[in-house]
Subunit: 245 residues, 3 copies
């Protein structure tokens, strides 16, 4: 008999929980449970005036409300910064951490510290131009940098789905001293055609972020930063490989 | 209904247009148009006394003669230096640039500047030993460094097909200041087992060349430098993913 | 008619010759011969007081006893240090060297010199704690760092199979001046999800080890450090691609 797992999926910037809908469906079809809450300040029409701590709190409260335990905690992209802090708060509930093309920030750094200066500047400009300290991704960057493995119609459809990202959580310095002392097993799931960060040792996702996990399991699959949209069944399969005991 | 695309395929060193024959066939079968001219000074029995500008001119003239527009311009290997200059000359005709395991030289550098010193020296020696300032690749380098994914019989058959490469275009410093200001969408298509350049951040194709494109789409596939011979249908499929809107 | 090859497979640390059993089976089914001796000091219940030279001698003697010639010499992990020295001793018998996620040590360095300081220290501590100067891998490192692509049951079953590794051969400085002057064709076979060494230019298998081979053939496949257990048929296929003429 196959083991049945519980997954808590934490989305990244510009996304909300429903980004995982197709992945959740595939995980459930395979006999597992999957939860995909929306992080505070994310999604359309909500209050965008949130801190990184608010984002973390919203997931911690979700776990407590749903009374989840013994689950695999998955973070995508910005979601990596959230799951690292959630892990500090409730390490005993989490069987394994899975970072999917996700930030694993160094202790004391912010997400913004971990991206190339020209993207930092772009984000700063976009935030300043907004009236609520949010940033929206230009379509050109989305199309080739984030979802280059889709056809044009899916690229446009998913772009419509995105919502402005609160900027404050991205520039918050994160105290991760507790996180780096935890002993929760970790996996890094890397979609190999992701160029949302410039590939390579200086700014790339892997192995720059992944190696910070110390001993970790590596799972790779083809695809862009947005395989939740472009290959949800493949992503679900990889999440299973990354998350199993 | 699927969009129909036009592809202009520019070959690399030691090759001629017919290297793309099988790829052209697969692209046409999929409902697209594909053109594969031979760059000046390339192929057997032609005048090898050409400059890099002659190479570029020959493609520009081909485009004008065939009256091509709204096409995807693909360059393989040395062909990357050619399409960058062609793009400067006729940016409005080009819908997207695709660099396939190709050079994307820095402004002011030559192809030779972008390869490791020991290969530079080998090329210099081979050119000096020739009577017409050309270089021919030793079989051992071709077999393992260029076409390691073929069986021996295809490796030998394709080696017979190669013709001496004019050396002057490889050492010409290229003014690419206009190229780096263009706003044509770009893709990098990377066959991941290519060791024609030593892999890694210092001399490898990807991400060294690719990251110079700024925001770009990355498409990867297995295979060596010579997938046009070893996996033409897979390459055609990847060119479609790299080239579509 | 397909060419029939002979393969001599040299295992790595904590393993013995029978680790290759399934791979040997697949190679034989494909019409080839495959030999998988156990390196001196390896396997359960044997004398662990061996030098690196003893390891090399044991393979050289095996080749002479079996009178093997015109064979492909494959080394996995630590086995790379062994096949490099075996190649120095009997270059004319070897048609090609295949390093599979293997060490290709620099002339004068030991295996231990080629691994990150924190793993060096762990090994040193483990050796000091043993009563026979051997080291055993902690299960957590085996499970995620070595065999992350297996399910838990195979991870545990194969862990039971491992035996303590003699420490002396890992810290022996290796004179490889002859090896680096040999002209035996070489291949590097890289399973891309291997995190037994931290991926990346500083400590990773590829391209750090592979590029030392000069002109080489690269063959990649998915999987961890232990594809001999997790994907023996895929590994056999890749060994054939890496080893053929």
């Amino acid at each position: 008999m196959e083991t049945s797992y519980s997954f808590l999926l934490v989305h990244g910037s510009w996304h909300e929980g429903s980004a995982w809908d197709d992945v959740v469906h595939h995980l459930e079809e395979a006999g597992h449970r999957a939860y995909a809450p929306t992080v505070a300040g994310h999604g359309p029409g909500v209050n965008k005036d949130v801190t990184h701590a608010d984002c973390v709190d919203s997931i911690v409260e979700y776990v407590e409300r749903e009374d989840l335990s013994d689950f695999v905690l998955v973070g995508h992209s910005f979601g990596g910064t959230v799951i690292a802090k959630v892990a500090e708060r409730m390490p005993d509930r989490i069987s394994r951490l899975v970072f999917q093309n996700a930030f694993v920030p160094e202790d004391g750094s912010s997400l913004a510290d971990e991206i190339p200066p020209h993207i930092q500047e772009l984000f700063e400009t976009l935030a300043a131009q907004s009236d609520d300290n949010t940033i929206m991704l230009p379509y050109e960057i989305w199309r080739d940098g984030f979802i280059g493995d889709s056809d044009e119609s899916l690229a446009r459809e998913t772009y419509e789905y995105l919502s402005p990202e609160p900027y404050a959580p991205l520039v918050a310095s994160l105290d991760l001293s507790t996180f780096y002392g935890l002993e929760i097993p970790s996996s890094y799931l890397y979609c190999t055609e992701d160029v949302a960060l410039p590939p390579g040792p200086e700014w790339g996702w892997h192995p720059r972020m992944s190696n910070r996990l110390g001993v970790y399991r590596l799972v790779t699959m083809p695809g862009s930063h947005e395989t939740m949209f472009t290959d949800p069944s493949g992503l679900a399969e990889s999440i299973l490989k990354a998350g199993r005991e």
